[in-house]
């Protein structure tokens, strides 16, 4: 990863939050962020991302990405949702589950990136 910019896909059907999250992420480092309101299977599988931030409220996230039905090509998948009671958890399949309110703070996003770098 060193030497290259970290490639990040951000999927969120909430336009305002998409913009806010993109700005916050940019504060955490020099990343290549691709913010998208929605994503198709082809787009998702053809580009290789290092980290995918995906909003659980998006149908494609709920139906395919969260269940790992689309190939993430080894990207770390961080699902965020307003229906999660805990700030941050990693499930048995290695998927991160983060509450939407947790991602509203710059320091939390940066902390997640830090953990991802460590991985």
């Amino acid at each position: 990863m060193t030497g290259n910019k970290l490639k990040i896909l951000l999927i969120d059907n909430n336009n305002m939050r998409l913009r806010d999250s993109t700005s916050l992420m940019q504060c955490c480092g020099d990343f290549c962020i691709n913010p998208k309101l929605t994503v198709s299977q082809n787009d998702y599988e053809s580009s290789s991302y290092d980290v995918v931030f995906a909003h659980y409220g998006n149908k494609e996230v709920r139906d395919y990405i969260a269940d790992d039905d689309w190939n993430s090509n080894g990207a770390i998948v961080v699902i965020f949702s307003g229906s999660l009671s805990k700030d941050k958890q990693v499930d048995d399949y290695g998927t991160w589950w983060v509450s939407a309110s947790y991602l509203e703070k710059k320091e939390n996003i940066c902390a997640i990136f830090q953990e991802v770098f460590e991985k």
Binding site: Y56, R62, A66, I79, S83, L84, S85, K86, Q89, T95
Partner: protein
């Protein structure tokens, strides 16, 4: 319509319910009973003689009436409003609103003036054209059997016969009305014309012409009651005031208001004697004990009946919608709403039947201005009640009820339940009480609720993650968003209460348990409390439980299928290595997770018991475009008896429980190899064979297939 000539034709027209022997006995033979004569007071205080029909004869009269009324050609004229379906004293009054002259006439001794021979002739004439034998029987069935041969007041057939006898009269009077630019209606013996032509000559000609027609049709005009009403005095038609729209009289409203006010101030008991029993026509209990619950219920029903009548009058002909700007007319609607709401307020904490309270709540809920004022819980209950009422009025529900009524022995009942179970899995392998009446009563109660519906249940659960759905009740709020307890109830009313009765009981319990927590918050903080369903200690656990118990997949706050399967395998496995499953069982499934885990557990136990100790049992998850299948199967080469599979004859104990557990939560199919070596799938919820296109691809073995909608 085939011509009805004789008794045989007539009995065939009535249907199978009346046998010839029974008919003869009741009408002419051993079981012939006399009408019971009694006298009540008219509104004026004068006596009125009524005849109560003996029960067996009444039953036959009812069937005859239903059959006659069901024939399109045998309908009374459109001018007749008395005793005709969907017409009433209100519809009789409506054509006469705001008229300059109203002419009222009355037929003297209407029912007693109709004799058996006139009735017979009527049935022989158009539109019936019955043969003489059939017409004579109909006349005998309709008229008094005491030798007088008159049409009894109180007879089931009497109003219909009288209306049909007036067909020609109505037509002739309608012609006169048209000629004189009048409106005309008839309610039993009350004839009403109305016109804006104020010329006295025209009116006196109308009365004269009408009287002649009435007499030519064999009736007598009660000249004492002939009246011409002008707008400067109260114009009353069949008890309804028609001067300005339709209305009840002021005294009626004043009495209602006074009764409710006194009930509010002095208690309900204080009003019973004063209000109901002052009515000399009242047929209720003749005791004045204000503490007696039964009499209090009677009083409340009576009062509610009066309020409902007032409502029917002021809301008739959509007066509330048409006259919002007309303050006088709309004020009546407001008065009705005010009285109705005060009555609701009065009875909401009084001990009375649930059904009665439900009807009052339904009446309140029918008025948009009032429904907003109902308490949240009652609004939800009322919405559920409406949905249930709608189901009960369906042909399917009515037919089930009617079919159950026809059951006369336990064997028939078993066969009936078998038929019902084919469309409603909750009746599969239902235990039947020994006593037939008790069994029928229990079944009747169960049948009065709709069968659970998989599509509806899945829809409700999926809506827990949709913006246009129940999402808000399990989801964090947006920053600075105000989301109140009232909002929660509103969402439930929209997405949950209307389908309440179509959800499996286990799902309802999950939602009700969450609602219990919400109710506690409502009681403590009130309806405007800004609620955080994810973190408020009074509801956070309930919210989490609701999510965990209603979906697999979807992150840490939902059920993990793999963990459950691992746990089951470790608990159930008799010998190591007998249960095989992939290390990735990952899918988002909306269902009731504890019931599905229980079902898989039972299917596993059943397979372990019925397969060789060396056979492995596999669990797998198969994702399709529209559905997700959880499969529990073996690879046994042993075929299963074809008939046993068809009849679901092997489904006892555990499998029987799985059928009931999965009802409304997923499809439950069993696929197996049958005697002829072919593969077959049976839908365990209804016993039907599933199309071969749905085959799993397994070449052998027995498979439990749980199929969930995506």
């Amino acid at each position: 319509m085939q011509k009805i000539n004789n008794k045989k034709d007539l009995l065939s027209f009535f249907g199978d319910e009346i046998g010839q022997e029974n008919f003869d006995n009741v009408l002419y033979g051993e079981e012939k009973e006399q009408y019971k004569k009694f006298v009540i007071n008219k509104a004026t205080g004068k006596p009125r003689t009524l005849h109560a029909v003996p029960p067996k004869l009444k039953h036959i009269q009812r069937i005859a009436l239903d059959k006659l009324q069901s024939v399109k050609q045998y309908q009374p004229s459109s001018y007749a409003h008395g005793f005709v379906l969907k017409r009433s004293i209100i519809t009789n009054a409506i054509p006469h609103r705001r008229k300059k002259r109203i002419i009222k006439m009355d037929l003297k001794d209407f029912f007693p003036s109709i004799h058996e021979d006139r009735v017979r002739d009527m049935f022989m004439g158009k539109p019936f054209s019955f043969g003489k034998e059939a017409a004579t029987i109909m006349a005998h069935l309709s008229c008094l059997n005491d030798g007088s041969g008159i049409l009894p007041q109180g007879g089931v057939l009497s109003p219909y016969v009288a209306n049909m006898l007036c067909l020609k009269l109505d037509k002739k009077l309608a012609k006169v009305a048209i000629k004189n630019h009048c409106n005309f209606t008839r309610y039993a013996d009350d004839i009403t014309f109305s016109t804006n032509d104020v010329s006295e000559d025209s009116i006196s000609n109308l009365i004269k012409e009408t009287s002649n027609i009435i007499e030519s049709e064999g009736f007598v005009v009660n000249t004492e009651k002939t009246k011409v009403l002008t707008p400067n005095r109260r114009q009353v038609v069949t008890g309804i005031i028609v001067n300005d729209g339709v209305n009840v009289n002021r005294r009626y409203i004043r009495n209602l208001r006074a009764a409710i006010k006194n009930c509010e101030e002095q208690g309900i008991g204080s009003q019973m004697q004063r209000f109901v029993f002052k009515d000399h026509r009242c047929s209720g209990p003749d005791k004045f004990d204000g503490t007696n619950g039964e009499i209090r219920n009677y009083f409340l029903h009576h009062l509610f009946g009066k309020i409902t009548f007032f409502g029917n009058v002021v809301l008739s002909n959509n007066q509330d919608l048409k006259n919002k700007k007309n303050s006088d007319t709309y004020r009546r609607v407001q008065t009705y709403e005010e009285i109705l709401y005060r009555f609701y307020d009065l009875i909401k904490n009084v001990k009375t039947s649930r059904r009665f309270k439900k009807s009052v709540v339904a009446a309140v809920n029918n008025r948009p201005n009032l429904s907003k004022r109902l308490s949240f819980a009652q609004q939800g209950v009322s919405i559920r009640g409406k949905a249930l009422k709608k189901y009960r009025s369906t042909y399917k529900a009515k037919k089930l009820k009617d079919d159950l009524e026809l059951v006369t022995n336990i064997n028939q009942l078993r066969s009936f339940i078998g038929d019902v179970a084919e469309t409603n899995p909750s009746f599969f392998n239902t235990a039947i009480p020994v006593d037939l009446d008790e069994a029928k009563e229990k079944l009747g109660t169960r049948l009065s609720f709709p069968p659970v519906n998989l599509d509806i249940a899945t829809g409700v659960l999926q809506s827990l993650v949709e913006d246009e759905g129940l999402k808000k009740i399990v989801h964090a709020k947006d920053k600075n968003e105000v989301f109140t307890v009232k909002d929660c109830y509103r969402i439930l009313r929209e997405y949950y209460d209307p389908v309440f009765y179509y959800l499996p009981e286990v799902l309802r319990n999950e939602f009700e348990s969450w609602k219990g927590a919400l109710t506690k918050i409502l009681q403590k903080h009130g309806e405007s409390y800004n609620i955080d369903v994810m973190h408020d200690p009074m509801i956070a656990d309930a919210t989490n439980k609701l999510k965990i118990n209603t979906r697999f997949g979807g992150g840490p706050d939902s059920s993990d299928l793999l963990k459950h399967i691992k746990k089951l395998a470790s608990e159930i496995e008799v010998e190591s290595g007998r249960v095989d499953f992939p290390q990735k069982l990952r899918a988002t499934i909306y269902t009731h997770t504890p019931s599905i885990v229980d079902s898989v557990s039972k299917a596993l136990e059943s397979m372990l018991k019925h397969t060789a100790a060396t056979d492995t049992i596999f669990i797998d998850l198969i994702k399709g475009d529209k559905d997700i299948e959880l499969r529990v199967f073996n690879k046994s080469k042993e075929p299963i008896d074809d008939e046993l599979l068809n009849d679901r004859g092997f489904a006892h104990g555990k499998i029987s429980s799985v059928i009931r557990l999965t009802n409304g939560l997923c499809k439950y199919w069993i696929e197996a190899t049958v005697d002829n070596g072919k593969r077959k799938i049976i839908d365990m919820h209804n016993g039907s064979e599933i199309n071969t296109q749905e085959m799993s691809g397994l070449k052998c073995g027995f498979a439990h297939r749980f199929i969930f909608k995506k």
